[in-house]
Symmetry: C2
Subunit: 232 residues, 2 copies
DNA sequence: TCTCTTATTTGCGCGAGCGCAAAGACAGCG
DNA sequence: CGCTGTCTTTGCGCTCGCGCAAATAAGAGA
């Protein structure tokens, strides 16, 4: 993120750009708008007309879907190199989710017409996006199955392992999950409640599998969690 | 489906082909293989290497995902004009679901390399597929939210309404759901059990909202079901 | 350092709906 | 027309985990 290297390799080589030439990528980037957002900022809200697609350059978003007063579902986190709101390609749609910044984030965005022209000009880009969406579809299908078939504690275990794999940072204590993650977030992500998550984490902490503080989790024994998630 | 009109308008004008010329469509069709399948036939099984994409010309498929002995989730039905297994575009993947024929079905299929070439040659096709996948993603997200936030009976109401809208046929009794749909299927679709579905349908039958028999449901009062699904 | 706010823990009771079991209904087939 | 397998119904008990309430802990800001 220095001035000399405005688009780090990690981004220009993001999955959505694989197979595209350097020139094509910089042309695509040139048509987008870059912005910074602080923690808690809302990129778009569920129900708003979908007019803009986003690519996260740095930081992290969370996508949520609302249901009545207070109840919400945390659908997924979007981290650097990933797209959000592919839906905005298609005119006349509304965002089906709300996107909120977790950490401070840098984001590039394209409006609907621009992105559609880019897709028609670069079939490879369309195919890459198709792949990204299909991958997410698969993940969501798996979580849907878990929600249907597994007990609350197992879903919590899987959620922690999934988030750990995506965003874990190794420390001498164990694998630290590197952003604010409250009991409430985990509950919204796993389809349980704050209370159940808290009770479960407490019991794992007593067993020495994890260490946890306020909005902070360190996984000490991932293997134990895996076994727990897999067992009948 | 006469000899003179091997691909009826309903199919050649399917959403995935919108915006493509007649010549392009017939070229795409020419590269596929057509087949008939009987009820219960399995097109592909979860975990098999994904090598072929399918488009349903007539009939109906169901996509399911397995979890342990006997437990399964019914992800969605695929009816005429819809694609299945877009995942097969990408080498080295496995089918994440099982596809089974419900009624007798006619299906056209393309292997992985062919479809990938078609996508690169016809960006419009790629964009249409992207749209189809995104639409399904949205539907799955909504169902995921329901599974998380609503009680079993409300989810069953929504499921019946959704299936009714997709496949209802008007009769003098009410709106008939036009294919074999067992209590077990509904349970797998809504994430409940056969028992809960049976109890719920019985109670609605007593209220006169529906009529039901073995693997058969007629919706008499859709409005009552809607109100029931929406209420807190 | 003190205060205020927000996150977390834990006890307790309750209700939705799961799941077994057994009986009843219906379709298909010879 | 009766047999057989499958689908459906319904009673009953039990468990998971929700959800309130109240206490406690941990940051954030002045």
């Amino acid at each position: 993120m220095t001035d000399r290297n405005p688009f780090p390799d990690a981004i220009t080589q993001a999955d959505v750009f694989s197979g595209l030439g350097e020139k094509e990528v910089s042309c695509i980037f040139g048509l987008g708008r870059r912005n910074f957002y602080g923690p808690g900022a809302v990129l778009f809200r569920e129900g708003d007309p979908a007019v803009t697609c986003y690519l996260v350059l740095a930081g992290r978003l969370k996508l949520t879907k609302l249901h009545e007063e207070g109840k919400e579902l945390l659908l997924r986190y979007i981290s650097a190199g990933q797209l959000a709101a592919a839906i905005a390609l298609f005119a006349g749609k509304n965002y089906p989710v709300t996107a909120q910044v977790v950490d401070r984030a840098e984001i590039i965005s394209w409006d609907h017409e621009t992105m559609m022209k880019l897709l028609m000009a670069h079939p490879r880009l369309a195919v890459n996006m198709l792949r990204a969406v299909i991958d997410r579809m698969e993940e969501l299908q798996s979580r849907h199955l878990e929600l249907h078939a597994e007990r609350a504690e197992q879903r919590i275990a899987r959620a922690i392992l999934r988030i750990m794999n995506q965003s874990g940072r190794k420390t001498d204590e164990g694998i630290l999950i590197d952003f604010r993650l409250s009991r409430r977030d985990l509950a919204d992500y796993t389809g349980t409640t704050l209370y159940t998550v808290s009770r479960t984490l407490s019991s794992w902490e007593k067993q020495g599998w994890i260490a946890s503080g306020r909005e902070r989790i360190v996984v000490i024994d991932p293997h134990a969690l895996m076994l727990f998630a897999e067992r009948d």
